[in-house]
Symmetry: C2
Subunit: 205 residues, 2 copies
DNA sequence: TTTTGATAATTTTGTTTAAATAGTCAGTAA
DNA sequence: TTACTGACTATTTAAACAAAATTATCAAAA
C-alpha cells in the first residue's frame, strides 16, 4: 500500500501530528507552514517534500481522523442489542468526534461555499459507512421482527441522518451556519436523542 | 393603528407591490430604488417619503408576505381531521410559500451571516405561530386519546420543525447552504412527508 | 534519500480612485 | 399642511494597484 520507507512513514506521521495540533488550536488559516515546521525543528521545505501543499496536508490529517472515526463506528456497531442502541452509538460517537475536534473544522466554516472535492469524498465515505452499518442494523431488526418490515432501509437511514443533522441547523436561532456553535453541541445532542426515540417508535409495531 | 390617510396607505401599497416584483425577479442587490420609482413613474425621493431606507422597504414587503403566510396557516389549521393532516398542511403551505417567493429570498443568501434583527423578528413570529398552532393540534389529539399523552407539546413541535427543516440541509450533497437550491425543493418536500409519516407514527400508540 | 537556505510565485491585506447607488433637503404644487 | 420633486451629498461597490505575508520551488548540501 504505502510506497515509502518505514522512516519516511514515521516522519510523515510526526508531521501529521504536529499539523493536527496546530490546526486544532489555531484553525487552518491561522496556521502557517513555517510554524508547523519549526514545531518539529525542521525546515518548511521539508514539509513540501512530504506533502504537495498545505491543503493536502490538512486533508491528510482529516483523512486520518475520518479513518479513526470509521474504525470506531465499525467496532461499535459490529454487534448491538437493539436498534435504538445502534443509533444511539452512532449519535454519541459522532458527537464526541465533533466536540473533540471542533476547532479543527474551522476550515469548513471558512471555506463554507466551496470545499475541495477531496474533502467531500471523505465526508461521503463517512456517510456511506454510516449508511451501510445502520441499514444493516435496520435490516437485521426487521428480519428478527423487532420492527415493521422495511422496503428500503437505506432510504430510512438517509432520512433519519438528515433529520438528525438538521437538528443542528435550527432555523430560528440567530447566527445560522452550516456548522453548529460549540456552546450548542450538548443541547443538540440531547435533542437528537429525543428525535431518535420518537423516530424509532415510529418504526415499531 | 396606522397613522396615515387612506390615500397614503394606497400609495404605500403600490410601492410595496412594485418593490415586491423587482425583488422577486432581480433580488435585493440587483434592484435599485431608482428602478422601483420609475416603475411607478415617481421620483426616488418619494420612496424615502414613505420608507426610511431600502432595507426597511424590503422588510416591509417581507412583513406583508409573512402576514399572508400566517393568515393562510391559521385559516387552514383552524380545524383538521387528524394530526397528520395538520402537519401535512403546514408542510405544504410552507413549501408553496418558498417556491413562489424563491428569488425574493436571495437577500437571505447574500446576507447569510448577519440578517437584520427585524428580519429575525419576522422569522421568529412565523415560527411562533407554527409552534402555537401545531402545539394546539397535538394537545387536542392527545386529549382525544388519538396519540400518546405528551408532556410538552411545544418541545415535540420544535423538534419536528427542526428535523423537517434539516431535511433541506443535506450534510452530504455538495454545495451546502442555509437555503436550499430551487431544483431540490420538490425532493425535499417528499422527504419531509416521509419523515412526518414516521414521526407521527412514533407519537401514536 | 533526506534536508535546507535562498528565492520565486501566489495570496492576502490595505489603499486609492471612480462609478454607481443610497439617501437628504430646500423648495414647489395641490 | 400634505404629497411630491430636482438637484445635491454621502455611502457603498469595484477596480486597480502596491506592500506584506505566506505558500511553494529548486539547486545544492548532508
Amino acid at each position: 500500500m504505502s510506497s515509502g520507507s518505514d522512516q519516511q512513514d514515521i516522519k510523515r506521521e510526526k508531521i501529521l501530528d504536529a499539523a493536527y495540533q496546530r490546526f486544532l488550536h489555531y484553525g487552518y488559516s491561522k496556521t502557517t507552514m513555517n510554524e508547523i515546521a519549526s514545531d518539529l525543528s525542521l525546515s518548511k521545505a521539508l514539509l513540501y517534500y512530504y506533502f504537495p501543499d498545505k491543503s493536502q496536508l490538512y486533508i491528510a490529517v482529516m483523512r486520518k481522523l475520518a479513518g479513526e472515526y470509521i474504525d470506531n463506528l465499525q467496532s461499535r456497531l459490529n454487534k448491538f442489542d437493539n436498534l435504538k442502541e445502534a443509533f444511539v452509538s452512532q449519535i454519541n460517537i459522532k458527537h464526541d468526534f465533533i466536540v473533540k475536534n471542533y476547532n479543527f473544522f474551522d476550515f469548513f466554516r471558512v471555506n463554507e461555499q466551496n470545499l475541495p472535492d477531496t474533502i467531500w469524498e471523505i465526508i461521503t465515505e463517512i456517510h456511506q459507512t454510516e449508511m451501510v452499518l445502520l441499514s444493516a442494523a435496520i435490516k437485521i431488526e426487521a428480519e428478527k421482527g423487532n420492527i415493521k418490515p422495511v422496503d428500503n432501509p437505506g432510504e430510512i437511514v438517509d432520512l433519519l441522518l438528515d433529520a438528525l443533522h438538521g437538528v443542528s441547523v435550527s432555523a430560528v436561532s440567530h447566527k445560522k451556519v452550516m456548522f453548529p456553535q460549540k456552546e450548542h453541541l450538548d443541547e443538540i445532542h440531547s435533542k437528537r436523542l429525543l428525535l431518535l426515540d420518537i423516530f424509532i417508535k415510529g418504526l415499531m409495531y
